[in-house]
């Protein structure tokens, strides 16, 4: 078994390569940004506006995604019907779409010259270049991350729990709220974090569909891009802030998901 001897080092080398490649840019951002620059980048009112806008638009997008996505994912996970696989594929499609395609698609659907442009205009609703368009763009690109994870979490539940709940007289709705959601919670939170991270990082679809205007549509990634040309140091500072916020979200989730489904259930 000569195979056994060389295989583990190969695995270790692969991991080392992956790790250094993936962490290098992030390390560089922090090495290039002194703590003073990090603080001064936050002193800039346009940076604060961008951060505030990013945080609240992504939060609204996430609320929409969770409220609509959780029951939708539950349906997909607990029912077996003909078009199920097709539906799941359609929902997952935005995951593999380039953001520019998402931006063009949103314009083609909801832009003034788009499919529903006239109808929206008649209703007096202006979507493009407003904060609403930022929320729509974020929701579009981030939702599949949550839906996919939530569907997997619900699918992994022990069906006998759900059946037991029903045999004990709980309705379908009660079972969903009191049994399924708590038991699937770690998976749901993991999906939430991925979706949030994606929403915070959204760039292309936002630029095309929502434009870039301070305080209205200029999210942090757009502000970073604008600074890249005029002030690289400030762009680095703002990037470091975004890395920190995203890392904080990921950490929170990792901690939250340490609670096993069973423990969540008995709580």
């Amino acid at each position: 078994m000569s195979q056994a001897r060389w295989f583990p080092p190969v695995l270790a080398v692969a991991l080392a390569v992956a790790l250094s490649f993936l962490t290098l840019p992030i390390v560089a951002i922090f090495v290039d940004t002194g703590p003073a620059e990090l603080v001064s980048s936050l002193d800039d009112p346009t940076a604060i506006d961008a951060l505030t806008l990013s945080l609240w638009t992504s939060t609204v997008a996430l609320v929409i995604i969770v409220v609509v996505g959780t029951p939708a994912a539950y349906l997909l996970a607990t029912r077996r019907f003909r078009a199920r696989n097709l539906l799941i594929t359609l929902i997952e499609l935005p995951l593999v779409l380039p953001p520019a395609v998402a931006g063009i698609g949103l314009l083609a659907a909801l832009g003034p010259n788009g499919l529903f442009g006239q109808a929206l205009d008649d209703a007096g609703i202006r979507v493009v270049l407003t904060t609403l368009s930022v929320i729509l763009a974020l929701t579009f690109v981030a939702a599949p991350f949550y839906l996919r994870q939530a569907e997997a979490a619900f699918s992994a539940l022990d069906r006998s729990w759900l059946d037991a709940s029903r045999t004990l007289g709980a309705g379908e709705a009660t079972t969903f709220v009191r049994v399924a959601i708590p038991a699937a919670l770690p998976g749901l939170i993991a999906g939430l974090a991925l979706a949030w991270g994606r929403a915070l990082g959204e760039f292309g679809a936002t630029l095309m569909f929502a434009g870039s205007f301070r305080g209205v549509t200029q999210t942090v990634p757009l502000a970073i891009y604008e600074r890249f040309a005029t002030d690289f140091t400030a762009a680095l500072g703002l990037s470091a802030v975004l890395v920190a916020v995203s890392a904080a979200i990921l950490m929170t989730v990792k901690l939250a998901t340490h609670a096993s489904p069973a423990r969540v259930l008995t709580r």
Partner: protein
């Protein structure tokens, strides 16, 4: 077993289709790529507004295979400062190449074309028909971000207007785009009713846009500067490329796309 065979067959058909598609897509390029195989490469970073003109010039450029990269001039200048070295840097102003020259990053720049800042509106039923309409309620405008040449020229124009008017116009601005392509896109998609772009952009929009000329006293001088980047891999090719911009196929492509000759702005 049968199911997995069928799946494999389906996968094979899909792959074959994809390959067929990509081969047929490349087919037209095959002859030219065989001819250009021994040609050196020339990398050109250029302002977004030069896209149509330089793409046409590059197709006819004979002594090198030209690779073009378009973005806001300020983004491209920032890339050069970060050590990304194209052979040629062509900007929508002379300020950025001059700055890079002073920083020792490019050779001495020359101006090679002029353009004209105009107010662009959709050709079809425009809501805005003059500069004065820009202050109206419900008028939405896209401009270039500060630091991007088209944005700086626009600010200069607005500075020449009475303060109340320029303030009212700025209040109607809905997006500050990182390059002129973004403004054109917002206009052609009907996302805004008006935008400040170059005349060449209006001519390149295939009849979708109409240009409203600005009053002579407000018109900024829009002069394009080009320079060989220091450390260029193909400096000789870069020089030939720039020579052609000043007099030759490049100059013709520029003129065909609505640019003026240098020194006429």
């Amino acid at each position: 077993m049968i199911a997995s065979h069928r799946r494999l067959a389906l996968l094979a058909v899909l792959l074959a289709t994809l390959m067929g598609l990509s081969v047929s897509a490349c087919g037209s390029d095959e002859e030219s790529s065989a001819a250009t195989r021994e040609k050196p490469e020339l990398v050109v970073s250029a302002a977004a507004s030069l896209k149509t003109a330089l793409t046409r010039y590059a197709d006819r450029f004979e002594s090198a295979t030209v690779r073009l990269s378009f973005a806001g001039s300020d983004e491209l200048a920032a890339q050069v400062r970060q050590g990304i070295k194209p052979d040629v840097f062509a900007a929508a102003n002379t300020k950025l190449p001059d700055q890079l020259f002073k920083e020792g990053l490019v050779e001495k720049p020359v101006s090679f074309a002029t353009n004209e800042l105009v107010l662009a509106v959709p050709a079809d039923r425009p809501k805005v028909t003059s500069l004065d309409d820009l202050t109206g309620n419900d008028v939405t405008i896209a401009v270039g971000a500060e630091g991007v040449p088209v944005g700086d020229y626009t600010l200069k124009v607005l500075d020449g207007l009475p303060q109340a008017q320029s303030k009212a116009i700025l209040a109607n601005v809905r997006s500050r785009e990182p390059d002129v392509g973004g403004i054109v896109g917002k206009l052609t998609q009907g996302a805004v009713e008006a935008g400040f772009v170059y005349r060449s952009d209006v001519e390149g929009a295939g009849g979708k846009l109409k240009a409203i000329e600005l009053p002579d006293e407000l018109k900024p001088t829009v002069e394009y500067g080009v320079a060989i980047v220091k450390g260029a891999r193909n400096p000789a090719g870069a020089q030939t490329f720039i020579d052609g911009l000043l007099d030759g196929a490049g100059a013709k492509a520029l003129a065909d796309n609505g640019f003026g000759a240098p020194g006429t702005g």
